[in-house]
Symmetry: C2
């Protein structure tokens, strides 16, 4: 089964579009940071497994601790129940034998179900990853930082007579999506206009939406702006809010899940109501 | 001393613009690939130290072997003489705390002198790396793969009335260079037109030029197209050719070094001759 069909089944079955980040920021790492990482992640995973559509460790936080940090990532992945997919957030960007080595590391060794990649070098970046069956790729499209627009907002002239000019992030979205059905996009959860624009361009694609507030603020708005007509097609990332909630009897995670669930129901009923007018 | 002044001193002192890649492709990794990697790298380093302006391990080839692979990278870096800078080719691309974690890993833990980064997310990607003093950053600009142009060649309308439209890779070059004097650019060594265009736009910047042929073919052309007026400002990468030559009494490395040295002499004398006419 391909990755996005699997995600759709999970989102439908569990009633959650929540992607739980596993980003251990060790402000006070102590003597054995790798063990602290695994302990903290175990708490998060135990608290969130019923509410998580998938998990997303950002590999940078593990690499920062060297070889033992990578071991901590492997130990963390072993704690995640088999029926919950893992997206390794790596934003890798290379070609040929080097991209093959990254794919061997992330899909081969780590056994991740999906990965994030950076599109700047073109299709050669994704090809070695596409050779692994049933995996998903999320290409950076629109990011959540204040300076994202310096390149992503550059206006690209129309590719054909029928088309019109568009910002680079939309061109990236269309082009990367055209490479394979296993390709989704990273679209910032704090940029509702961006989410709506990419959704309009790509009615079927899957989005990974990070960058919502530390307290989960904006998750509902991101969902409403980026979800497909059928209420699927978006994974809303919560990282800090969840890490903090894991220590406080999972209140926030439960709240986030139920909030996203309510959004889906509202979204679907609103779209059902709209249909007779928009498609007479 | 800043990284590029240091590079200029080394290139002048040793008479070489050669950047030696340390990219262990283990087609037959054997039972202990990490030890094989360190052994192979030791041979390359011993054979090339007199001819190398710097070394460039691509981290992907180490990550592919998991935590032990990262240890092999650390052991490799310890083998490189202190007076030869190391560029960790990582093409990282993230922001905020995540970019800080990558910088902590590459500049902090590994102690690299320079790094390669991908520009898609904007200035937030480079800021945490710039906080480490005396280090160099090479931003992806023009890459060597056949599909590089899909985004890099997109025409960007002029930014002002005085400017003219330009391809994305030139806009990336200008923008990234403007962020800091510690920023150089990755410009494919197999694309002489690209090298000339970026050099024309940025007469002073430093380039890292990978992608010349497996046998070192094209190194001289890349040098001639990308070097500054003064014959500095470009590091030509040889990886496979050097790895293979390390087993054959360094013939190829010596040949490459002397070839680049001859190119510099020819280039400088040619430019000296030209000057009276072009600047009367």
């Amino acid at each position: 089964m391909d990755f996005f069909s699997r995600m759709e089944d999970i989102v439908r079955g569990k009633g959650t579009s929540l992607c739980v980040g596993l980003d251990p920021r060790m402000e006070h790492p102590g003597r054995d940071p790798a063990s602290s990482i695994v302990r903290a992640n175990r708490r998060i995973i135990e608290a969130t497994a019923p509410f998580a559509a998938c998990y997303k460790p950002n590999i940078a936080f593990y690499e920062a601790h060297g070889p033992r940090g990578l071991e901590a990532l492997e130990e963390t992945l072993a704690l995640i129940p088999d029926d919950i997919p893992v997206i390794v957030d790596a934003k890798r960007c290379d070609i040929d034998a080097t991209a093959e080595a990254y794919a061997a590391s992330i899909f081969g060794r780590l056994g991740a179900d999906a990965v994030t990649l950076s599109p700047y070098m073109g299709e050669e970046t994704v090809l070695p990853f596409l050779r692994y069956e049933g995996r998903g790729l999320f290409l950076l499209c629109r990011t959540s930082n204040p300076g994202a627009g310096v390149f992503q907002d550059l206006q690209i002239p129309a590719a054909s007579l029928e088309a019109s000019a568009e910002p680079l992030f939309l061109r990236v979205a269309r082009t990367c999506s055209s490479w394979s059905d296993s390709i989704g996009l990273v679209v910032a959860g704090n940029d509702c206009a961006g989410l709506r624009a990419v959704r309009e361009a790509l009615p079927r694609a899957w989005f990974l939406a990070p960058g919502i507030g530390a307290q989960g603020g904006g998750a509902e708005e991101a969902f409403a702006a980026g979800a497909r007509e059928d209420g699927f097609g978006i994974l809303v990332v919560a990282a800090r809010s969840v890490a903090e909630a894991a220590d406080t009897r999972r209140a926030d995670t439960r709240r986030l899940r139920s909030l996203l669930q309510r959004s889906r129901i509202r979204l679907r009923s609103r779209r059902r109501r709209k249909r007779p007018f928009s498609r007479p």
